[in-house]
Structure formats: structure tokens, C-alpha cells
Amino acid sequence: MNTANRATMMLETPFHSRVKELCQINDWGNWMGFTTPNAFFDVELEYFAVRSTTGVFDLSPMNKYRITGPDAEAYLNKMVTRNVSKIGLNRVGYTVWCNDAGQVMDDGTIFRLGPNDFRLCSYQRATDWLLWCAMGFDVSISDETDHLAALAVQGPTSCTTLTQMGLHDLNTLKPFGMREYDFEGEKLMISRTGFTGDLGYEVWVSPERAEPLWDQLFEAGRDYLIKPFGSYALDIARIETGFIQAGVDFVPAEEMVRPGRTRSPFELGLDWLVDLEKPLFNGRKSLIAEKEKGSRYRFAILNIDGNKPADHSFILKGDQQIGTVTSAAWCPTAKSNIAFAQLEMPEGGVGQEYVAEIYYQRELHWTRVLAPCRVLDGPIFNPKRRRQTPAIPH
């Protein structure tokens, strides 16, 4: 096989040798072109590692961009909906960004590494849009995806494990804060962030330090029952805690083909990320107009009776179809059957009750259930330990 061919093969993350070793059931998936485990040994048990001990997830395939230069802050302020100026040094902010029509292209996190030095992590690839946005700004943008290895270390014992590994005083790190430690002659960056809604951290090192990091982490966490987890377990955790995902819960705006299929931040329940007071950002005009005119849809977290996951279900009000489910899961910790839905306005107010039309199959027999459901006022899983500082050792 020649080099050109090899370059088109699926990629392996810097942790691959270690991940492969622990991937006992050999169940692999494709995440952004990287060979990543769907599950390591048992989806359910992996999920519970996150909720009761420490779970480790390889998030190296996440797209990472470095934005530097005199206009870096102004640039990001124009690109994203929230006010980046309010993200302090060594702080992280979750945000979305829109096209001119105020439709969401993607969500991600912004790490402020310096006054005009940022890292943007996005689920979708963003090079093209980031460069278009750079017109008129004195910024430089580079794709760091291949230059940075990252692990999510999540769960109640995560702080203890990482402290055990030598990250002293980690318990003082506040949510959405970040900090640097020396590690193997280089800097390791750690942020108190994650996609599981639990106490947790994300650890960032150069690809060369990836294997030592993994080894030391698992060594440190052995007594705290550290376990790796794959994307199936992550999906349950993120639904339980109310995190949406591009391509699943909304169509990235610039990839839309059918008119009307995209969503605004308001329609995804992300009003709190939109700062209309900012003088200019992509989508502002349209979003102001939407505020005046009203949105077409409302994002709702539904608590559904019974235990049949409501994947791909229609949501009914009487005989009328008023929406569809985008993500659904039985949430083992909350012991609830949760779904994200897009409901036609004015439906979807907190406490409203509807019916989910669920189809499921057991032994080739298809059953249709009409399960009553209710709109929640927020994510069903939102533990105190997620926010507490100093982090409580469990």
C-alpha cells in the first residue's frame, strides 16, 4: 500500500495502543475519521464508571483550533453568539455559532489561554468557516487537532485520581477553569470540563506524552476503579445531562439541503448563550428578528412514561403531531426515560404533557406504545458535585 492510499485510511489517536489493549470486545466505530471504540467491555458498566468512579474517554479526534493575534477576541466575538470578553483568562466557555441566518452551525468550547490566545474545540470540522470569518481580522488560525492528545476523565473519583497522579490542589480548580501542570518535561493542561454532566476534567498533552499520560492515569486510578468508556456510554451520559450534539439534535446550518431544516440557538434551548447586546456577531440580525417574530420550534427535554427508549418517535398532542424526538435514552442513574424533542411553537412549555408514539421490537414482534410524557424544566441529571469547589473526594 502506497503513501497516498495510507493517508486515506482511518486514523488512530495517540492513545490507540492503550485503547486497543483495553477494548476487550473489539467494537470499533468511526468518529471524525478516527478509529474509536464504541464500547470497551460493557456499555452499561462503562456508563456507571462515569457516574460512580472514574471513566476515561479519548477525545483526541475532537477538532481543535488555535486562534491567536491582536484581533483574536474580537474575531471570536463576531463568530460566536456569546460574549467572549466575559471568558476570563484560564477559563473555558461553552458556545454555539451561527450563519447569517441565525441558524446553528455547531457548538463547542472556547479556552482562553491568553489575552488574545484561544483554543476552540468543535464537534464538526470548521476550518473553512473559521477562515471565512477571519476576513478583516488580524488573527491567525491553525488546526491543532493532530498536535494535541486529550482525555476526558469524568466521574466522582476523577479529582482524587488525578490528584493521585500528581496534579496537586486540583480540587481547587473551579468548573470551567483550567490550569497547567508539569508533566514529563512538558506542560499538561487540565480543564474542569466535560460532556457527561458530572464532576470531571479534560486533560491535554502533546501526542508524544499521550501514552505516559494514559499509563500514569490508569496506575493512579487503579484503586479508585478507573475504567475507559466508549462512545455508546458517552451518548447515554450526555442525554441524561442534557447536552445536544451536532448532526443529531440539529443540522449544521451550512450543510442543510432542505429549506427550513436548520435550527436557531433559541430553538435549541440555548437562549442563554446568545448575547444580543453585542454590537455584531454572525446571525445577530436574524436572531433579533426571530426574537420579535417568534421561533418556529422549541427544544424540550421530555420525561417519558415507561422504559422504552423513544428513539425516532413522533410527539403527539391529541391526534396532532407536534414534534419529533432527536435523541433518546433510558438514563440509568436518573432511572428515567429521557428524550430531546423539537416541538412546534407554541408547544413545549415546561410541564406540558404529550404522548410519545414509540415503536419497539422484541423477538421480531413490533409494538407501538403511546407513552405519556412531560416537558422537564432542565436536565434530569445535574449533581451538586459537578459544581462544588473544592471538589469533594469520593
Binding site: M1, N2, A4, N5, A7, T8, M9, M10, L11, N30, G33, A101, R125, A126, T127, D128, W129, L131, D143, E254, E255, M256, V257, R258, P259
Partner: protein, 538 residues
């Protein structure tokens, strides 16, 4: 007495499709074919022992699935097999591979430019918007915008609605897409020459325009609007060569009681009292029918087999002005083995796809300059395939059949007919270009059939060898195809119809013109319609 309900002139795929639907409606139909074999430009011919050449059209995507299914073409032997990928070879020894697998294609483009690889998703979405706009109209008769009849106004409103649904911004993009050059269009998305060249080729195939000419972005769309098994934009081979398409339609036609008469060279459509009466052959035979449908291109139809006195002078003028230009040539090559290409794994799926050797839009445009100067391109754009990598019936085991479509070749060289030396020079140009990227290619050639536009014209009857039966520029599309006032398949004489690719929606082995024409004929006869409607895109 040779009397029929309808006569179709030309056994190309559209003629046969048209005839099949008329026969299905219970008409007594005869198809008259000049050649001893059927198919027109959809033929497979054994021109070297053991090798079958799809020696005109060579790939299949646009054939309307509604028709294939309705006429039960698979039962009549048609099998369309998709091929994976394709590649453009670069002068620096590298290439750009076009992989079917989305993620693999991303990584391949990213080898050349990460930005372009990322922009490709936006490009795909935007082009798909355009294909979704046009596809619903492929199986419909275009409305006449100058008419005030309710049916026309209703259909026109349908058209308008589809366009207005795009929204202010979407419609602005649509106008741009339909009128701008493929180069300008691609420049708005990409920075890499080879990627632009790879995609841009679809904007000039069969077209007497360059990649920098306004209007070529639409030609690209024309190549994207087909599908194989619902994969919009995918292309495939007909197993056994393109002749299998015509063969299967002819079987469907015969199953409805139709009759095909080969070696029947039509001299004239007989018109009496401004009504069609039938046709007269060159050998003096006459076939009578109140309906005559021409599968020939508009120039042939109106300037060749119709009598000037039977036609309004405006139609003669329109037919004379109809743009149907010879711009393409073809080489069909029997190979002793599989050629090896620089930097390409012989087992790569790219090998089974469309291969090209022009790695920049500028080179493609310069190829067009040669055509304007009435000579063949010295550095042509080739659309080369080895169908025997997908379809083993095309060549003996271990051997291969190669089809090389060449853009550009003019109908005449400096105003003169092609000479044998010209043809040899043309052949050498093409073989040299391929040899630059494949060291063993030349030695593998067992037989080469070289076809200039003139050859295609004299064999198939397409004026200047134009593969689309008329340029696919906006002035000759929709209600302007073949020309304004005659876009609804009806000719200027009662009982005379057109069903070739010169009519809406144009060429590319779609069979839609033939089917649409049949629907109009049946409407005029007050017969129940046998032609299926189009599938709606979801």
C-alpha cells in the same frame, strides 16, 4: 400494406422508450432504424474479437428509475452496476482520488487541502439543493411561458413555486448556479487546482464551452442529477455495455407487440394537407401512420428528413440556429492487461472509476482554446474508464476494455473534413497523454477504435457527433429545448413529434424525453396515459 398507428424514427434509447409507451397504450407501433443494429448511441459492439465496446455513451446514471422499473428493464436484462470513485492524476506524480466513502474522500482531499476537504461538505449541500430543484421536472413537460392556457399557467406556477421556495438568498444562488461558469463556481469553494479540475470536468463533457465559460456550472448539475439506486449523483455501468440499455427497452417494446425494422433509412416524413401521413425510405418503401415521432436531433429532423415546404420558415430558422456542436471524440481500446498508473495502487477502487489527466482548470480551458481554433486539444480533458474492472463481460478474462472520452475534438479541422492523418494525430495525442502517467499502457494496446465527431455523426446520425443532441446551455433548456414554442414534443405539423435528447430534459441516456413525448402523444390521442410520473425526492 405497411400501416401503423405510430412510427418512431430511430431506435435509440429514447425512440425505443417512446415506442414502448405507445405500444403499451395499445398502439400498433413500428420503430425504423437506419443501422443494421439498434441502440443509436447506446450500443455495445464487438469491434475486436472478445472485446465489447460501449462505443458511444459509456456510463449510466441519468436513466430514470421510474422508467426502468415501469418497463421492467431489469427483467428484460438490464443490470446497472455502480462504480466506485475516480481520480485525477497530477503532473507531480500525485493524484486526487474521488472515493465513494465520504470520510475517505475527506481525508483524500485533506491531503491536498484541509480547508477544501472541509468546504466540500458545503459544496455538496449546495449542489444537492440544485439537483433537488431540477429533478422533479425531469419527467414533466415544460410549460410554455408565452401561453395563457390554464394548463400552461398551472404548470408555470408549479415551476415558479419551486423556485420561489428557495427563498431570496437561495434563488440568488440558483440564478448564479445556472448562469455562471463552473470555474467561477468552484473558485467560491476551493483553493486546490486538482480538486477544481476534477470536479470541473463535469462542466464541459460533451459541451462546446470551456470551464471558464458562463453556463457550464449547469452542465455540471446535469451530470449530478441522476442516481443509481437512489444515490443521487452516482454513476454506473450497464452490465454488457450500454447496448444492454437499448436491448432491454427493445425487449419491453416487443413484449407490448411493437415491431423494430432495421436497415430502414428514412428519406422523408410524408406530409399531406399539413398532416403527417407516414415516412418514405431511401429505398422507396413507404410506411404509413398518422403519427410520426422523430428520435433524431432537431437539425436532422427539420433540415434533413422533413421537406422545407411542409414547415413554417421560422422553424427552419430555429432549427438552423439550434446549437448542436461536435466537441468530443472517443477512443475505445482493447488492452492485453491492466495498465499501471503512477502512484496508484492497482487494487484501489479508484481504478474502476473515471480517470483524468488534467490537473488544473487552466489546462482544461486551454484545451477549449484549441477547439475554438478548429483543431483537437493538444492537452485534452480525458474521461477515461476501464469498465472491465467492474463488468467482466466486456473483455476476455485478464484482459481489459478501456473507454476514453475526449474533450475537445471539433467537427472539422481548420474548416476541412478530418483526414486520416488528423485522426492518427488525434489518437496519438490521447495515447501520449495517458502514457505520460502509465508507462506500460502503450504496450498493452491490442486494438484501438478512434472516433471523431464526424465518425459519430456518420454512424449514429447525431449532428456533429454531439452526445446530448444539442448543447445544454440555458437558451436550449426547459421550455427553450429544442427551441421556444416547440418544447412540448409536438412538431409544427399535426401528427409529428420529437422524442430525442434534443428535447427536454436533454441527453445523457435518461429516456425521459422519450417517455415525456409519449405522454403528450397519448394526450393528443385521448388515450389513457401509460407513462409513470416521477418519484418525489424526500
Amino acid at each position: 400494406m405497411n400501416t401503423y398507428d405510430a412510427i418512431v424514427i430511430g431506435a435509440g434509447h429514447n425512440g425505443l422508450t417512446n415506442a414502448a409507451y405507445l405500444a403499451k397504450a395499445g398502439l400498433k407501433v413500428a420503430v425504423l432504424e437506419r443501422n443494421p443494429y439498434i441502440g443509436g448511441a447506446t450500443v455495445s459492439r464487438e469491434l475486436h474479437e472478445g472485446w465489447y465496446y460501449s462505443n458511444c455513451s459509456y456510463v449510466c446514471s441519468l436513466l430514470r428509475p421510474e422508467i426502468a422499473r415501469d418497463l421492467e428493464l431489469p427483467r428484460h436484462g438490464l443490470q446497472v452496476v455502480p462504480f466506485g470513485g475516480g481520480a485525477t492524476f497530477m503532473r507531480n506524480g500525485d493524484h486526487l482520488g474521488s472515493y465513494f466513502d465520504h470520510d475517505r474522500f475527506y481525508r483524500e482531499i485533506a491531503r491536498h487541502s484541509k480547508r477544501d476537504a472541509n468546504a466540500y461538505d458545503r459544496y455538496t449541500a449546495d449542489v444537492t439543493k440544485q439537483t433537488r430543484l431540477i429533478r422533479p421536472f425531469l419527467m414533466r413537460t415544460p410549460p410554455d411561458p408565452t401561453s395563457l392556457r390554464p394548463r400552461e399557467l398551472l404548470e408555470l406556477a408549479n415551476f415558479a413555486k419551486a423556485f420561489l421556495n428557495m427563498g431570496e438568498e437561495g434563488l440568488a444562488d440558483t440564478i448564479a448556479f445556472w448562469t455562471k461558469s463552473v470555474a467561477d463556481y468552484l473558485n467560491e469553494y476551493f483553493e486546490t487546482d486538482v480538486l477544481k479540475a476534477h470536479l470541473g470536468g463535469s462542466g464541459i463533457i460533451g459541451t462546446a464551452l470551456g470551464v471558464y465559460s458562463p453556463g457550464t456550472a449547469y452542465v455540471l448539475l446535469h451530470h449530478y442529477m441522476g442516481d443509481v439506486d437512489g444515490n443521487v449523483g452516482a454513476w454506473g455501468f450497464a452490465r454488457g455495455g450500454m447496448g444492454a440499455v437499448a436491448e432491454s427497452i427493445s425487449k419491453a417494446f416487443r413484449s407490448y407487440g411493437g415491431e423494430i425494422i432495421c436497415d430502414a433509412n428514412v428519406d422523408e416524413i410524408i406530409v399531406k394537407g399539413s398532416k403527417v401521413r407516414g415516412v418514405a425510405l431511401k429505398n422507396g418503401d413507404e410506411y404509413l401512420a398518422p403519427i410520426v415521432v422523430s428520435n433524431l436531433d432537431p437539425k436532422r429532423t427539420f433540415l434533413d428528413i422533413m421537406n422545407e415546404k411542409d414547415l413554417p420558415s421560422s422553424v427552419i430558422k430555429k432549427a438552423s440556429n439550434f446549437k448542436i456542436r461536435g466537441s468530443s471524440g472517443k477512443l475505445n481500446i482493447a488492452l492485453d492487461g491492466l495498465p499501471v498508473f503512477h502512484g496508484m495502487d492497482p487494487k484501489s477502487p479508484l481504478m474502476a472509476g473515471d480517470l483524468h489527466f488534467t490537473d488544473s482548470l487552466e489546462r482544461q480551458e486551454r484545451a477549449y482554446d484549441d477547439w475554438k481554433n478548429e483543431t483537437w486539444s493538444k492537452d485534452p480533458y480525458l474521461d477515461m474508464m476501464i469498465p472491465s474492472l467492474t463488468d467482466p463481460t466486456m473483455a476476455p478474462p485478464g484482459k481489459h476494455m478501456m473507454s476514453v472520452f475526449v474533450q475537445y475534438a471539433p467537427p472539422k479541422i481548420n474548416g476541412e473534413d478530418w483526414t486520416a492523418e488528423d485522426k492518427a494525430g488525434f489518437e496519438k495525442t490521447v495515447i501520449d497523454q495517458i502514457s505520460n502517467y502509465s508507462p506500460n499502457f502503450r504496450d498493452l494496446i491490442l486494438h484501438c477504435e478512434t472516433r471523431t465527431p464526424k465518425d459519430i455523426e456518420s454512424e449514429v446520425g447525431l449532428t456533429e457527433g454531439n452526445i446530448f443532441q444539442g448543447e445544454l446551455t440555458f437558451d436550449q433548456l426547459l421550455f427553450n429545448r429544442p427551441f421556444p414554442g416547440y418544447a412540448q414534443y409536438r412538431g409544427p405539423v399535426t401528427g409529428m413529434y420529437m422524442c430525442g435528447s434534443g428535447t427536454h430534459p436533454g441527453g445523457g441516456v435518461m429516456s425521459a424525453p422519450g417517455a415525456n413525448a409519449a405522454r403528450e402523444i397519448l394526450r393528443d390521442l385521448n388515450k389513457p396515459n401509460t407513462v409513470p410520473g416521477g418519484y418525489a425526492d424526500d
